[in-house]
Symmetry: C2
Subunit: 172 residues, 2 copies
Amino acid sequence: MARSSARPKPRPQTELRLGAWLPYRLFIVAAQIARPLAAFYGERFGLSQAGWRILAAIAEHDGASAADIGRACALDPFAVSRGIGQLVALGLATRGSAGRDRRVARLRITPRGRRTFAEIAALGLAIETDLLATLTDAERRSLDGMLGKLEHASSRIEQNGWRALAQQAPRP
Amino acid sequence: MARSSARPKPRPQTELRLGAWLPYRLFIVAAQIARPLAAFYGERFGLSQAGWRILAAIAEHDGASAADIGRACALDPFAVSRGIGQLVALGLATRGSAGRDRRVARLRITPRGRRTFAEIAALGLAIETDLLATLTDAERRSLDGMLGKLEHASSRIEQNGWRALAQQAPRP
DNA sequence: GCATTATACTTGCAAAGTGCAAGCATCATG
DNA sequence: CATGATGCTTGCACTTTGCAAGTATAATGC
């Protein structure tokens, strides 16, 4: 534990207050945004969250494999497979075969899928614009870099698991 | 992507790329943090996410009612009731009755609950410290205000529902 | 006072989601 | 061409969630 002398360096908070705890605050924002959007694509198109994410992924990378998609939208192979099934059943995507290796799926978005995506994306962008509008210019400029760092750090945390964290946690 | 021109208006992004879309990025960070912590309190204490949140809430506001807790940690009454049941079953909290109105529950944390909370909180704070350590001083200073604004904006978005957003979304 | 309505929380059950073992088809290797 | 690896899918048990209905208590109206 690094204790710095003169200035208040990275605050070494000693108690955890839920409402002030960074992971909780991030979770709340993410959840509050996700719910109305999920209500929209759920009611309107019968899509699950996985379905929407995969649709966005193939809208961007048409012809991707299931593994590609899993990487692009942080879903495990089971969730990807089921989400694809949903998209195919709804007529928003088609399963094809990549030429060389016939094990890998080639996911193609249909015209209907593209229209559906555009409709959800419009709402999604409206939400993003709305959120960004509450920030100052300076905040908007710093947001991207901060999120990048947080993504990287949280990815590392997840990778290492809680046992690694238990080391650096002060003994209770 | 970020273009500094003469017109510094909020960028009107026209396409949605999942990996660059603010709600998705927030979700990923929140999920990547939540998973290892949930694995910890799940394996070690048999707590669910709701259980952990409620435990944190009563550690901070001992003697709160179920409704208070719901407000404090963004859970609906059903989830609160079940979470409390879990905490009581694990011996981490007790259900009592508030004097005046015997409908409202008075949730008290037990000594065991407090020790459990301290142990999880230690990990939680280690995670937070870890995350904050990747940011610059300036970023850390602006983070709190930004999260406050995002919390407020996302709360409003959820309150209004998707129908309100559909108005301001560009027609697809 | 006593019926009616409202509040605070709980319970039960069905639907949806998740995790994981096992399966199938295909490809790569010795 | 047998063996094992890979990419994806399916089945099944388990958990979580959403919601209707239930219980107990309090407040309100007549």
